[in-house]
Symmetry: C2
Amino acid sequence: MTADIEKIIAKSQESCASTGNKLTNKRKKVLMVLLNSALPLSAYDIVDRYKEQFQESLPVMSVYRMLDFLIKEKLVHKLETASQYISCSHITCNHQHEMPQFLICDRCGGVKEVGIKKAIIEELEHSIRSTGFLLTHKQLELHGICKQCKIQSA
Amino acid sequence: MTADIEKIIAKSQESCASTGNKLTNKRKKVLMVLLNSALPLSAYDIVDRYKEQFQESLPVMSVYRMLDFLIKEKLVHKLETASQYISCSHITCNHQHEMPQFLICDRCGGVKEVGIKKAIIEELEHSIRSTGFLLTHKQLELHGICKQCKIQSA
DNA sequence: TCAGCTATGATATAACATATCATTCATAAA
DNA sequence: TTTATGAATGATATGTTATATCATAGCTGA
């Protein structure tokens, strides 16, 4: 595994430890599968890649449980609109966990986790709160065509 | 059916006619099932309610096709994060179809289609466009707890 | 060491969605 | 009026995503 991934894994270990939880070997390998993928993966995709990458099969039920764990630890995001999972791109940056924002390309399936200007997000949150609604999930998923795909089709 | 629903159906007929398409009897009844429901429904829910309300069964395949049609006609929205369908709350208002915004209550399952201040939405869209991403789907789905449920649990 | 808890496995099934071919039905040209 | 055409719907099968539940393994601390 690359140095980058090693660093991310180390940081993830710490992060779990700090919440009193354990990044077991299998959970770590599931996270690595996601880190190794440029595209978001479904739980069933993860089963397949896990087998390829580690010559070891994992029941899909276990994958779902491990994903739940990794999501709780904020190491992984679920793209609700795509039923796919992606590693958080901010594991190593001591980030505040603000509202994650994903631009999902419907052509290539790629996802970019972006940072929309904080002021805009705060206005948006404020506007929602003012209707009496309590935001709990805080995540934006927006669909379209990414820069690359746009250029290719031009 | 109530006068309100009659009015909405009439408007929907017109709207389809104007795009050269037909709101067939079955499509109309699927729309009515959604209009009669306070909560969003899955395609399979629609099959069940259709049978209850019209003593007539409809294959789920047909429901999906009719939903596709109604969505293209902008009479129905799909809540991607919930895999559920809901009638557009603006059928009768000669609305511009701007970015629809849904607040989805994870307690009661209720959905409110809200209008966030246009300026905020435009800033958001602009911010996304400026990354080179071409927004095509334009829909926000935000999850949390609605006012009612918040009050009840207080 | 063993009791108790957490993690994982195994199996079944539920819930959501699409592919494909057949049939029905409306419409309009002959 | 008949018939050809295309659109809408039905029927059937299957793919994909997700959860329920009970069993087993494995760690950890008394």
